[in-house]
C-alpha cells in the first residue's frame, strides 16, 4: 500500500520544518483572530470545521458516504444543551455528555449501516437520521420547533468565564485543536492506513486478513463522536439547540463543505467550512439566494475542480515537485 494510489490522498512527508512552520503560523493567526474578526462568527466556523473534519474522516479516508451526520451533530447539541440547562451540568461535562451520546448513537447506527455498501449505506444513515429528526420534533425535552433556548454559559472548568466571547473563543479553539489532533492521529496511524486500504479496494483488504467491518465501525463511531463534539460545542456557543441541527439539510451542508474544501485532505474540510459559513453569514441579506449560490458553487466544484480547493492546491504543488524532480534527474 502506498499513499500514491489515489490522487485524493494527501502526500505524506512526515514532519518537515516547513510544515511545522506553517502549522505555527496558522495557530498564531487563529489565536490573534478574535481581535480582528467577530468572535461568534469564528466560533461558528470552528464548530463547522470540526464537524466537516469528522465527516471527512469517514468519507475521505474510509470511503463511506454517510447522509445522516446531522443526527450526531444535532443529537449531541440537544444532549449538551439539556444537561447544561435543565440538569445544571458545567459546560465541559455537558459537552462530554453530548459527545458520548453521539458516539453511542454512532455505534447503533454504524452496526446497522456498515452491513451495506455505497448508496444503500447512505440511505440507511439517511433513514435513521430522519427517524431521529422526528424523534427530536416530538420529544418533550427538545422543545419541538422552539428548540432548547437560553442555555446558560457557566464557567468552564469552574474558572474560565465564558460569558465573554473572546474567552469562549479560546475554549472552542482548544476543543477544535484537540478534535483535529485526534483525526490527524487516526489518519496517520496503521488504523488510518487500513481505512485507506479499505477505501481503495475492500475485497483486497479482506483477503489480506483485515476484519473490515470492525475497522469501518470504529471509523464510524469516531466520526460520529467528533461530529457530536462539534455539535455540543455549537450549542454552548449559540446557547441553543434547535431542529436545524438535526435536519437533513445539515447532513447535506457538511457534505458540501467537505467536497468544496477537498475530500480526503486534512485541511480541506476546514477551508470548505470556512467558505460555506462565510457565505451564509455575509450573504444572509440576500435571503434565499444563498442557497442558489451554494448550489452553483457545488456544481462548479464537481465539474471543474473535483478535488476541492485544498485538493487542487496539493495536486498542483505535487505536479510541480514531480516536474522539478524530473528536470533534476535528467541532466
Amino acid at each position: 500500500m502506498t499513499s500514491a494510489t489515489s490522487p485524493m490522498a494527501a502526500p505524506r512527508e512526515g514532519y518537515s520544518p516547513l510544515r511545522l512552520l506553517i502549522a505555527l503560523v496558522v495557530l498564531a493567526a487563529l489565536i490573534a483572530a478574535p481581535f480582528l474578526v467577530y468572535p461568534i462568527f469564528l466560533m461558528k466556523v470552528l464548530c463547522f470545521a470540526l464537524f466537516a473534519c469528522a465527516f471527512n474522516l469517514l468519507l475521505g479516508y474510509a470511503g463511506l458516504l454517510s447522509f445522516g451526520h446531522a443526527m450526531f451533530f444535532g443529537g449531541a447539541a440537544y444532549i449538551s444543551a439539556h444537561t447544561v440547562k435543565v440538569l445544571g451540568f458545567t459546560p465541559e461535562i455537558g459537552i462530554i455528555a453530548g459527545t458520548l451520546s453521539a458516539a453511542l448513537l454512532g455505534l447503533v447506527t454504524g452496526l446497522l449501516a456498515i452491513r451495506r455498501l455505497g448508496i444503500y449505506f447512505a440511505m440507511v444513515t439517511l433513514a435513521l437520521a430522519q427517524m431521529f429528526f422526528f424523534f427530536c420534533l416530538q420529544a418533550p425535552f427538545t422543545g419541538g420547533e422552539d428548540g432548547l433556548q437560553a442555555v446558560p454559559r457557566r464557567a468552564f472548568f469552574g474558572i474560565i468565564d465564558i460569558t465573554k466571547d473572546v474567552n469562549l473563543y479560546y475554549v472552542v479553539l482548544a476543543i477544535f485543536v484537540i478534535g483535529f489532533a485526534i483525526i490527524y492521529r487516526a489518519v496517520h496511524s496503521p488504523f488510518g492506513q487500513v481505512l485507506k486500504a479499505i477505501r481503495e479496494n475492500e475485497p483486497r483488504a479482506v483477503s489480506l486478513g483485515y476484519r473490515v467491518n470492525q475497522y469501518k465501525l470504529l471509523a464510524f463511531v469516531l466520526s460520529a463522536a467528533l461530529a457530536g463534539l462539534a455539535g455540543a460545542t455549537k450549542s454552548i456557543v449559540f446557547q441553543l439547540a434547535s431542529l436545524t441541527d438535526v435536519a437533513w439539510q445539515m447532513s447535506g451542508e457538511v457534505i458540501l463543505m467537505t467536497l468544496v474544501g477537498g475530500m480526503g485532505t486534512m485541511l480541506g474540510p476546514i477551508v470548505g467550512a470556512a467558505i460555506i459559513v462565510t457565505m451564509q453569514n455575509y450573504l444572509a441579506s440576500l435571503g434565499e439566494w444563498v442557497l442558489v449560490i451554494q448550489g452553483v458553487i457545488f456544481v462548479l466544484a464537481v465539474s471543474l475542480f473535483r478535488r476541492g480547493v485544498v485538493g487542487e492546491v496539493l495536486a498542483f504543488v505535487q505536479a510541480r515537485k514531480e516536474k522539478a524532480a524530473a528536470r533534476d534527474a535528467a541532466p
Binding site: 419541538g144 422552539d146 428548540g147 433556548q149 466571547d165 434547535s242 444572509a284
Partner: protein, 403 residues
C-alpha cells in the same frame, strides 16, 4: 455581564460626548422578520416600510435623532435569529430590534436583547410568554398575543353555541400557547375540548389532520396556526367539505393578507380577532393608501401597523432621554410615557411590557358585500382595552410585584 457593563460604560461615554457636541443622537433600528417564507406577507418588507415611515413621520432629524433602519431575514430559525441579533448588537451597533414574527425566534431574541441591554419591540409574534414567564425589562410586546386572540375569538364563538372544540395546532411554541390559552377560555365559558392534533410548521398537506378533526365530531375546529399554515388548512377544509357539512372553523390568528390569499368565497363568515384594521378611521385609511402605493397594492396588516406604532413610541422615548444606548432605560421611559399615535390611538405600556389597546372582533364579509380591494371585515364587537389583554397579575411575570 461584564461585557454588558463595558457596553453601558461605552454608551454613557458616547452619550456625554453626544450631548456636548450637540450632534444628533444616532439610533439604529433592525427589522428582523421573515422575508421569504410563510410570514413574509404579513410582516416582511411591509414591516420595513412601516418602520421607515414611522421614522419619517416622527420627524426624527428635526428632533435631533439620526435614525437608520436595517433589515434581515431570520428564516424562521431560532439559531439564525439569535446569530443575526447578536451580530447586530455586537458589531453593527443596532439599538433596537422590531417585529420578529415566529414565537420561537422571538423568545430567542428576547433572551439576547436582555443580555445585551438593548430594546426589543415585538409586533409579529404571538406568544403571551413574552410578557409572562419570559418577560424582560428590555422587551415591549406591541400588537397582540395568544391570550388576546383566544379571549376574543374563543369567548365569542363558545358563547354563540360552539361549545365543543377540536384543535389543529402548529407544533411550536406559538401553536402550543394559542391552544392552551384558547382551551382555558373555552372551558371557562362552558365549552369542551374533545381533541387536538399537532401539525409540523409549514405543512402543505393537512388531509390526515383534517380527517381527524372531522372524525372528532366537534362543532368547532380551532386553527391554532398562522400565516401560510392557516391559509392551507382553511382551503383544504373547504375542499374536504368540512365547512359545508356543518363543522365550523375558528381561525385564532388570521391576518388580512391571509383572507386575501384564501379568497372571500372560502373565508366568508369566519370570525376573527384583530388589533387593527385599515378601514376604521381616516388616519388608518390614509396610512393604508400610502402603504399600498409603496408595496405593490398590498394593504397593511395589524403587524405592520404595530411596527409603525411601536417604532413611533420608541423614538419618542429616545428623544426624551436623548440616548438610545441603555435599553432598559429606554423601555422604562416607554412604560412611563402614555402611548399615542395615529394608528393605535391612546394607550399605555404596562409594567410587564404589554402594550394595551382595544381589540376588535370581525366577521369576514361575503363576496357580494365587499366593495373594493381588501374590503374584507365587518366589525362585530370592540373589546375594550382593559378587557382585551391578560390581567397583569396572571402572567407570572417576575417584573410584576405581587400584592
Amino acid at each position: 455581564m461584564r461585557f454588558a457593563a463595558m457596553l453601558m460604560a461605552a454608551a454613557s461615554v458616547f452619550a456625554v460626548t453626544a450631548a456636548n457636541a450637540q450632534s444628533p443622537v444616532k439610533v439604529k433600528i433592525g427589522v428582523l422578520n421573515d422575508m421569504s417564507s410563510l410570514y413574509s406577507d404579513l410582516s416582511g418588507p411591509g414591516s420595513v416600510w412601516a418602520a421607515k415611515k414611522a421614522v419619517e413621520d416622527f420627524g426624527a432629524a428635526a428632533k435631533g435623532l439620526q435614525v437608520e433602519v436595517i433589515a434581515a431575514d431570520h428564516q424562521n430559525k431560532a439559531d439564525v435569529g439569535t446569530s443575526v441579533a447578536r451580530q447586530w448588537y455586537d458589531v453593527e451597533g443596532v439599538d433596537m430590534i422590531v417585529d420578529t414574527p415566529n414565537s420561537g425566534v422571538a423568545l430567542a431574541v428576547n433572551t439576547v436583547t436582555r443580555e445585551k441591554n438593548k430594546v426589543f419591540i415585538n409586533s409579529g409574534a404571538a406568544t403571551s410568554d413574552l410578557t409572562g414567564k419570559a418577560c424582560s425589562p428590555n422587551t415591549v410586546h406591541w400588537t397582540y398575543d395568544t391570550w388576546a386572540l383566544a379571549n376574543g375569538t374563543g369567548k365569542a364563538v363558545t358563547k354563540n353555541g360552539g361549545d365543543t372544540w377540536f384543535f389543529l395546532t402548529a407544533d411550536y411554541a406559538f401553536g402550543h400557547a394559542l391552544e392552551r390559552d384558547t382551551s382555558e377560555v373555552v372551558k371557562a365559558n362552558g365549552g369542551k375540548v374533545v381533541g387536538t392534533v399537532r401539525v409540523p410548521l409549514n405543512t402543505s398537506d393537512f388531509s390526515s389532520f383534517l380527517l381527524q378533526a372531522q372524525g372528532s365530531k366537534a362543532k368547532i375546529i380551532g386553527l391554532a396556526n398562522a400565516g401560510g399554515d392557516t391559509i392551507n388548512s382553511i382551503k383544504q377544509a373547504s375542499e374536504y367539505g368540512i365547512t359545508s357539512s356543518g363543522q365550523k372553523l375558528a381561525g385564532l390568528l388570521i391576518f388580512l393578507t391571509d383572507i386575501n390569499s384564501i379568497g372571500l368565497k372560502t373565508a366568508q363568515g369566519l370570525n376573527l380577532t384583530s388589533a387593527w384594521y385599515w378601514d376604521m378611521t381616516d388616519a388608518n385609511r390614509a396610512f393604508a393608501k400610502e402603504f399600498s402605493a409603496a408595496n405593490g397594492g398590498k394593504y397593511p396588516t395589524m403587524v405592520q401597523a404595530g411596527v409603525y406604532s411601536g417604532v413611533t413610541h420608541y423614538l419618542k422615548s429616545v428623544a426624551a432621554l436623548k440616548s438610545a444606548k441603555d435599553g432598559a432605560a429606554v423601555v422604562a421611559e416607554m412604560k412611563k410615557m402614555p402611548t399615542d399615535d395615529k394608528l393605535f390611538g391612546k394607550g399605555e405600556v404596562r409594567a410587564d411590557g404589554r402594550q394595551i389597546h382595544p381589540m376588535f372582533l370581525f366577521e369576514v364579509k361575503k363576496p357580494s358585500e365587499s366593495k373594493g380591494p381588501y374590503d374584507f371585515y365587518t366589525l362585530k364587537a370592540t373589546i375594550p382595552a382593559n378587557e382585551a389583554f391578560r390581567p397583569i397579575g396572571e402572567g407570572d411575570c417576575p417584573l410584576v410585584k405581587k400584592t
